[in-house]
């Protein structure tokens, strides 16, 4: 830094030398002195306020970093101590503050400004400032204060800042916090791994001081280190390939000394930085010391943060971290040790408990077998002096003896143990020929082993030197091992071998038994530990035999090991050193003569072993107890008891006790018991709790789990006393529980009670079952899933599915498939739904019997809750209603068929109705009938769903499927009324039809059987149908004849134009009655009109009517006037019975003029409706009914019908109503005609009949005749233009008769002319000479014209043919409506014009 700025020293104006103003030799003092102040806003220092000058002096002379900010621009003055903080910003003297600290101005600027404005000082503590003052970027912390500087006038002009370095204190505090944090973890970890994790988590929070750490733990007893935890947790740090290597953890473990690693980056690359900008470069690897006296527990790597140099303080901090960590790990180790010890103690406690429990069993069983027989013998002896047989006595005493031995052996074993435990076992070691001794011992077991069916190999060649053993102890060793081998070996061999090997006598006892699992092997010799074996000859055993063996071998300075493979066998190997050097000298004794006690000591082992074998001595005593007198159940078969015990003596004893009263079977373990019960359930199971394979508790559980055996009562026997054991047994489901030793009386009492209880229970069950079985209805129970779980025998009878097939899961086999019979399916679903919602339900449905035939059942369901379990059950009954169903079906079907046939108006109606009925009866898809009458193709009749082709007409024979055609054709070959059913989908039959042979086929459309009952029904129904058809056919013929006759006498079949008639007979099906009408065309366009009414109704009246009508017609044709006609008719009627009082209206109409001459014989007046809306009655010319005054002249009247008026003649049936005057009916009829005066005449007739009809229909004959004047004009002419004028003339005449005005006439003439011209024109072109028809009809208010030809009109196109287009346009203009309908047969023009009033 040069002094180039300093040109010359300045002097203050007040004469104060610059040396005083900027004192000292510091760099900044020199710079300030040299600074050209006068060129700045601060001015010459001589002008500075005293406070600024003072501040400068303090600043320059202080060793604290200090700054003076001056003036509005806060110009920057500072001392040497501040230089490191300023770093490369130096020199910055007198620069504006915001130029110096640009990057933090947003923070400090406002602070400074606030000091300037408020005059109040600020205080900032421990501000982090990264600094590179020692060759690296370190974290530094500073505390500073901004104080105001006033000028001489008291105005704040600047800020004074003193700064102090707090780095050491701050970091020290932070590290302390880390250590405290670590310390606070003490006592939390339950394991070493957890301790390491806690340390790592703590250090992860302390990344500034320990950016990375790793803990390696030493595996106990080795020098292997395994990584246990890192911080950060997911740090992945591994040595770079080709680098200097991994952390020197092994070295640290070896030396116990920390190692500083300074090439961290070279070894690993970038470690986690802990928040610093650069990753750590240094780390310390530290040992984790163990507890005092112990080795190291591990090694710890702690990286140093880049923010601080790894100085002594840092190292000591990291050392403390390691120590804390070690303390935490050690505490966890200690905790785990303590925990393990506690667990071991608990385990020992558990084993002891088990031991005492077992030992109790071991004691109690023989105790029971001693006490029991002794008690029995005592009773026998003390009783009524009954003499006990010698055999029995011996047998009982043998049992007592055996069990006494067993108890003795047990006590000896326990004593041995307690002696060994107490260290008081005194062995007497004598040199023996181990081969001989061992062979002898093995020999004792030979019979037992061979009896068990095993090979027994003893391979003990003599040894060269004797072995020092205590004979008694050695016996126990060998006998225990042999006994063990026999107990667990079921096939193969037991082998005893002796060899000399490496200065040891080596004895091997090997078997080919079930072996010991690997995890059990280490605990084999543990006291009280009983190996859980899959299978053994006996479950007896105290769990101390092998432990004792080990202790005894140990007393001989020898070892015992075991090797085993599951399923292959076990081999025990004992090694006894030769010589006596390893034995206490005071225990050595000289050779003694052969110990006579040998057999005594061995006997219990052998005896016990023999009792495990299947064919034990128990068979001797089979009959021993049969002489017993007590028999608990008088009468009936003796209850059967199954005894399960692995102890043969116990089995014998129990058998002996129970034999007198019960059938007794015995088995040796729970599994055998389970199988026996499943095969044939006894009345009671008496079972020991502790047994091989399947113990008593599991036996009970297995029995209860199986519904077939759940009810079998079980009495458990156990040696394990105490309430808990009892509860355990009852919990498992045992019915009773008896603790050994028990007295014979107690056992018998319990057995009897249990058996009786069970029998009572069984009785209830049987009663329940018998009741259900006695039901004649099928009975079933279904669970909530619908599975049928119980059925009675009636169910099996009715439905064909018996209890052997239970459970029946849905869909039940007796139900039809939904697709086959949706109706049944739906009914059942609905019934089931009702059960679910209402608790009960029922339906009648068809089911399928197991043999395939269909049955109908009435089913009822009730939902109930199982009283035992609370589960929902559905109980149901099914009643076989097949016969009833078919009876009802037959009756119903017959009745329905009869109704159908009787309602039919014709044979074909009857047939189609019957087919519909058949379809309904069988819910068939369709029913098709073919009527064969000679022709190749028969006539068809069908009944099928409404959606398909409707009956008969549309479907032709060839439209039928070929299969159906074949079936219908084949049926002709069968005799009539013999049903032919197909396999699955339908049936057919033939019958005689009046017109030939009828064959019909019922298509069920689904896989549904057509049962025998169905066939019967079909034959029955078709038989009736055949008869019905013939009956209908006869009626048909009669009716046809009658109708033809009736029509002949009723009236003309062809009416002249302008007339409409109606006839409504009162008596159906007659179509005639006493009323009539007649219209008689006469010469000169005159028409005779008659309406008459004979007295009475029905056929008789019709006969009279027929004669009168004919007579009347004949008279009219003779040109007689109406009065003449009626007068003549008077005479005629007088001659005809029943014709008197007939009323007749007779008129003669001139159709050209409308002039009507008429006479009435007491008939109702005609009604004339005028086109203007008025009506009048034709009441003139009236006289008496026929034949009342014969010969009396009749009057005549004349009325000319106005143009477009309408005449109504009628009989009284139209207008006569009860309780209503006739005039009212006439008025109503008048109104009806009048209202319809503009309707076409046919329409008017329909309207009047409908309007006048009473609600219940006409009760009397009605005849009605309508005529409108003039009658319609109908002209047919050849299509020639010359015809136009005459046609026009005819039309003009007719229009004049219609009394229209001349303009309208002219318009209609032109319109009609145009239509005719068109017709003619087309006729010329397409079919010359064809006929054109013109028809004109007038009503009161309308005129209709129709011109029809047989040609085709072109659509009007004026541009192509202005002439024709003009014609059509004229038509449209002149008429109200013109419709041109071109058709294949010709063109029709309809025109309508309204007639103005």
């Amino acid at each position: 830094m040069g002094d180039e700025q300093a040109t010359e020293p300045m002097s203050a104006e007040d004469g104060q030398p610059v040396e005083l103003l900027f004192p000292g030799g510091s760099e900044m003092a020199r710079r300030m002195r040299a600074y050209p102040w006068s060129g700045t806003s601060m001015g010459d220092p001589g002008t500075w306020p005293a406070s600024l000058r003072t501040a400068c002096r303090i600043c320059l002379t202080s060793r604290f970093p200090m700054i003076v900010w001056w003036g509005e621009e806060l110009r920057f003055l500072y001392n040497d101590a501040y230089l490191p903080l300023l770093g490369s910003k130096h020199p910055a003297l007198a620069k504006p503050g915001d130029e110096v600290w640009t990057e933090i101005w947003h923070t400090i600027g406002p602070m400074l400004r606030s000091v300037m404005s408020s005059g109040e000082a600020t205080w900032s503590e421990d501000l982090l400032l990264p600094m590179n003052r020692h060759g690296y970027w370190e974290e530094t912390y500073w505390t500073y204060s901004y104080s105001p500087l006033h000028d001489d006038d008291g105005v704040v002009r600047g800020v004074f800042t003193a700064v102090s370095d707090t780095t050491e204190r701050f970091i020290g505090e932070r590290r302390l916090a880390v250590l405290q944090d670590l310390g606070s973890q003490a006592g939390q970890a339950r394991s070493v791994a957890e301790a390491c994790r806690l340390v790592a988590e703590t250090l992860e929070r302390s990344g500034a001081d320990v950016p990375f750490s790793a803990i390696y733990l030493r595996r106990p007893g080795t020098d292997d280190l395994t990584p246990a935890a890192t911080s950060p947790r997911d740090a992945s740090v591994s040595p770079l390939p080709g680098g200097p290597g991994d952390w020197p953890v092994d070295q640290v473990l070896r030396t116990g000394e920390p190692v500083v690693v300074t090439d961290v980056a070279e070894r690993f690359g970038a470690l986690p930085s802990g928040g610093w900008q650069t990753p750590p470069t240094q780390a310390v690897v530290l040992p984790l010391a163990g507890e005092t006296g112990g080795g190291m527990v591990g090694v710890m790597v702690l990286a140093a943060g880049a923010g601080r140099a790894l100085d002594e303080a840092y190292e000591s901090f990291l050392g403390l971290v390691a120590r804390q960590t070690a303390a935490l790990v050690n505490a966890a180790v200690a905790y785990q040790l303590q925990q393990r010890r506690a667990e071991e103690l608990a385990e020992l406690d558990r084993a002891k408990t088990a031991f005492f429990s077992n030992i109790s069993h071991e004691f109690r069983t023989p105790l029971t077998l001693i006490m029991g027989p002794v008690e029995e013998l005592r009773t026998a002896l003390a009783g009524n002096g009954e003499r006990v047989g010698e055999d029995r006595l011996r047998a009982e005493l043998d049992v007592v003896h055996r069990n006494g031995l067993r108890l003795g052996k047990l006590v000896n074993t326990l004593l041995d143990f307690s002696r060994i435990e107490a260290g008081r076992m005194r062995a007497r070691y004598e040199p023996v020929d181990l081969a001989a001794v061992t062979t002898d011992l093995a020999g004792v077991f030979r019979s037992a082993v061979e009896k068990a069916g095993l090979a027994f190999e003893v391979d003990c060649p003599p040894l060269d030197e004797p072995v020092y053993v205590d004979r008694g102890m050695w016996e126990k060793v060998v006998l225990n091992l042999l006994s063990n081998a026999l107990k667990f070996t079921f096939d193969g061999s037991v082998r005893v071998a002796l060899r000399a090997e490496d200065g040891n006598a080596v004895v091997t006892v090997a078997d080919t038994g079930i072996g010991i699992s690997r995890h059990e092997l280490p605990r084999l010799f543990e006291r009280f530990h009983r190996v859980d074996s899959a299978r053994s000859r006996s479950n007896e055993g105290s769990g101390i035999g092998l432990a004792l063996v080990k202790e005894l071998v140990g007393l001989h300075g020898g070892t015992i090991t075991a090797e085993s493979a599951e399923g292959a066998g076990t081999a025990f190997t004992i090694r006894l050193p030769f010589g006596s050097a390893h034995l206490p000298s005071d225990g050595l004794v000289p050779v003694r003569p052969t110990d006579t006690e040998l057999t005594t000591a061995a006997a219990p082992y052998v005896e016990e072993a023999l009792r495990w074998l299947p064919e034990g001595p128990e068979s001797r005593e089979d009959e021993a107890g049969t002489s017993g007198s007590a028999s608990p159940s008088a009468g009936g078969p003796r209850p059967r008891i199954l005894v399960a015990d692995d102890n043969a003596d116990m089995r014998d004893y129990l058998r002996r006790l129970l034999r007198p009263a019960y059938e007794v079977d015995v088995v040796t373990d729970g599994q055998a018991a389970l199988e026996a019960v499943r095969a044939d359930a006894p009345d009671l199971v008496v079972s020991d709790v502790m047994m091989p394979r399947l113990d008593g508790l599991r036996l009970v559980a297995a029995l209860r789990a199986d519904p077939r055996t759940a009810a079998v009562p079980v009495l458990l026997l156990s040696a394990r006393a105490g309430q808990e054991a009892g509860i355990e047994g009852l919990d498992a489901g045992a019915d009773d529980y008896l603790v050994k030793p028990f007295s014979a009386d107690e056992l018998l009492a319990r057995v009897r009670a249990t058996v009786d209880r069970a029998r009572l229970r069984a009785h209830h069950l049987r009663w329940h079952a018998a009741m259900i079985e006695s039901l004649q209805e099928a009975f079933f129970v279904a669970d909530e899933n619908g599975a049928v779980i119980e059925v009675n025998s009636a169910f099996a009878d009715i439905v064909g599915y018996g209890p052997e097939g239970l459970p029946y899961l849905p869909r039940h086999p007796w139900l039809p498939a939904e697709a086959d019979d949706p109706v049944t399916y739906r009914r059942l679903a609905e019934a089931y739904e009702r059960v679910t919602s209402h608790g009960s339900g029922g339906c009648v449905v068809p089911l399928r019997h197991s043999d395939g035939h269909q049955i109908w059942v009435a089913a009822t369901f009730v939902a109930v809750a199982d009283p035992g379990t609370g589960e929902r059950r559905i109980v149901g009954t099914l009643r076989d209603v097949t016969a009833e169903h078919y009876l009802v079906q037959r009756e119903t079907a017959l009745a329905a068929l009869s109704v159908r046939v009787s309602e039919a108006g014709s044979v074909s109606d009857a047939l189609t109705g019957a087919l519909e009925e058949l379809r309904e009866v069988w819910r068939a898809r369709d029913v098709t009938a073919a009527l064969w009458h000679g022709e190749a193709e028969p006539a068809l009749f069908r009944a099928c769903p409404a959606t398909e082709t409707k009956i008969g007409t549309e479907t032709g024979w060839l439209d039928l499927p070929a299969e159906l055609r074949d079936r219908l054709a084949e049926l002709r070959d069968y005799p009539p009324l013999r049903p032919v059913a197909s396999e699955a989908d339908g049936a057919g039959i033939s019958l005689e039809h009046p017109a030939g042979i009828l064959t019909l086929w019922i298509d069920l459309g689904q896989n549904r059987p057509f049962t025998a009952e169905d066939q019967t029904l079909l034959a029955l129904l078709t038989g009736h149908l055949g008869q019905g058809l013939h009956r209908v056919h006869q009626l048909d013929q009669q009716r046809e004849a009658a109708v033809a006759l009736q029509r002949a006498i009723l009236g003309p079949s062809h009416l002249p134009a302008g007339f409409a008639v109606r006839y409504e007979p009162a008596t159906r099906p007659l179509e005639v009655g006493g009323d009539w009408y007649d219209i008689v065309p006469l010469p000169d366009e005159r028409i005779g009109i008659v309406v008459g009414d004979c007295v009475g109704r029905g056929l008789e009246a019709a006969a009279v009517m027929g004669q009168l009508r004919s007579a009347c017609r004949a008279l009219l044709l003779q040109e007689a006037g109406p009065a003449q006609v009626l007068t003549a008719l008077d005479k005629f009627a007088a001659l005809v019975p029943g014709a008197r009082c007939t009323t007749v209206f007779c008129g003669v109409l001139d159709s050209t003029t409308g002039r009507l001459v008429y006479s009435s014989a007491g008939h109702l007046p005609g009604i004339l409706a005028h086109p203007d809306g008025g009506t009048e009655l034709l009441e003139g010319g009236r006289s008496t009914p026929l034949a009342v005054r014969p010969g009396h002249p009749r009057p005549e009247d004349v009325r000319t019908m106005p143009a477009r008026s309408t005449l109504l003649l009628y009989t009284d049936g139209l207008v006569e109503r009860r309780r209503s005057p006739l005039t009212r009916g006439i008025d109503q009829a008048s109104a009806a005609v009048q209202d319809g005066r503009s309707a076409p005449i046919e329409d008017l007739a329909t309207q009047v009949m409908r309007r006048m009809a009473p609600d219940t229909g006409y009760s009397d004959d009605v005849a009605l005749l309508l005529y409108r004047q003039p009658a319609p004009l109908e002209v047919a002419f050849p299509a020639e233009s010359s015809q136009l004028a005459p046609v026009r003339t005819a039309l003009r005449d007719w229009l004049n008769r219609c009394e229209l005005n001349p303009t309208m006439i002219q318009n209609i003439l032109v319109a009609a002319g145009e239509a005719c011209a068109n017709a003619i024109e087309h006729g010329h072109r397409d079919a010359p000479g064809h006929t054109v028809r013109l028809r004109a009809v007038a009503t009161a208010g309308d005129l209709y014209l129709t011109v029809a030809d047989s040609g085709n009109w072109k659509p009007p196109r004026p541009e192509a043919n202005t002439h024709r287009g003009r014609g059509v346009a004229l038509m449209r203009a002149l008429m109200q409506r013109v419709t041109i309908r071109p058709g294949a047969a010709g063109t029709t023009v309809d025109m309508h014009a309204r007639i103005p009033r």
């Binding site: 026009r1288 002219q1306 002439h1363 014609g1367 346009a1369 203009a1373």
Partner: protein, 100 residues
């Protein structure tokens, strides 16, 4: 049988040529009318076609009259009025004798 139709040519005192038509005109005799109209001597006058005695005139007759419209004038009666009006003939030629 042809529709009755008579046509009488004449001339008014002022020299106007007149064709007096009586009867009915339809497609069977429209040709005769056409011929008569074509053959009438008019000497530069408009031909006055007197239809007052015509009882029927349809589109065939109208077509003939339309064809000759530029050189004829008509005398009509009330019966023919609707047809002449509707066809539009009144718009292309002068019609006398109609009330409305």
């Amino acid at each position: 049988m042809t529709t009755p139709l008579t046509m009488v040519p004449s001339r008014r005192p002022d020299g106007t040529p007149v064709l007096t038509v009586s009867g009915e005109i339809d497609m069977s005799n429209a040709g005769e009318l056409d011929a008569a109209l074509s053959g009438a001597s008019v000497d530069g006058h408009a031909l006055l076609v007197d239809l007052s005695e015509v009882e029927y005139l349809d589109s065939a007759g109208l077509t003939v009259l339309f064809a000759h419209a530029p050189r004829i004038e008509l005398v009509a009666n009330d019966l023919l009025a609707p047809v002449l009006t509707i066809s539009g003939l009144v718009q292309v030629t002068t019609v006398h004798g109609m009330e409305s």
